[in-house]
């Protein structure tokens, strides 16, 4: 199996990642989440974005999240891949895949992983807007009024 949590500079190969999880003949259910770069975020028109990670710690924290999911839910396998670098509209930013014998746990574990990754893993997203402005999501207005995590 590949690393439980990984970064990718290249477009994420979801088919290959999925096939890894499904090699296990006991995994009858598979749930995946994909987060895509979309044109609008909170009403602003996005042109592209950049993800930056503190990889040394992010890889550890991401792996801890996947390991926690494996302990907490009776699932077979779980894996998360996050893009870093410059992304255009329509690109895949993050993928989570979970296989399990039973579907309920696969859904719960997949959601747990993406929620935790968004809250705990040191990854930052800078959006470049059509109006020429740009900003670090959750961060640019921190000094004025702290904003809480944006979910999508």
């Amino acid at each position: 199996m590949p690393l439980a949590f990984a970064f990718s500079q290249q477009p994420i190969d979801t088919a290959a990642a999925r096939d890894e999880l499904l090699r296990d003949p006991a995994a009858g259910g598979y749930v995946s989440f994909e987060g895509w770069v979309r044109e609008f975020n909170e009403g602003r028109q996005v042109l592209r974005l950049e993800y930056e990670a503190f990889e040394q710690l992010a890889l550890k924290e991401g792996a801890r999240i996947v390991e926690a999911a494996l302990r907490r839910f009776p699932i077979r396998h779980a894996h998360c891949i996050h893009r870093v670098g410059s992304l255009d509209l329509g690109e895949l930013a993050v993928w989570v895949g979970v296989s399990a014998e039973h579907r309920g746990e696969a859904f719960e574990a997949c959601r747990f992983i993406i929620d935790e990754v968004k809250h705990r893993v040191p990854i930052w997203k800078k959006e470049y807007y059509r109006d020429g402005d740009s900003g670090w999501v959750n961060c640019e207005h921190c000094a004025a009024a702290p904003r809480h995590l944006h979910s999508h």
């Binding site: 990754v117 809250h119 705990r120 040191p122 670090w136």
Partner: protein, 79 residues
């Protein structure tokens, strides 16, 4: 003592560098951040940050040792 500091995201931009060696009398991340906030005019308050020491999450009042690597972590936005 010398502390190695790495910067990411908004802090990297405001510091205009991704890392630096700091010669400091600060003995905790809290004191070190106050010093660097002054120097680089960081817009973020410590309450909005987490801190990592030598590649692992740490505490603001943890004792620093010479040669430590410190990272101040702005609000994250994965996914």
């Amino acid at each position: 003592m010398k502390i190695h500091v790495q910067y990411f995201a908004l802090l990297r931009e405001q510091a205009q560098r991704s890392q630096e060696e700091v010669d400091t009398r600060a003995t905790t991340p809290a004191v070190l951040f106050a010093e660097l906030k002054e120097r680089h005019a960081f817009s973020l308050a410590p309450g909005q940050l987490k801190v990592a020491i030598n590649g692992e999450f740490g505490a603001w009042d943890q004792a620093l040792a010479a040669g430590d690597t410190v990272v101040f972590i702005p609000p994250v936005a994965g996914g």
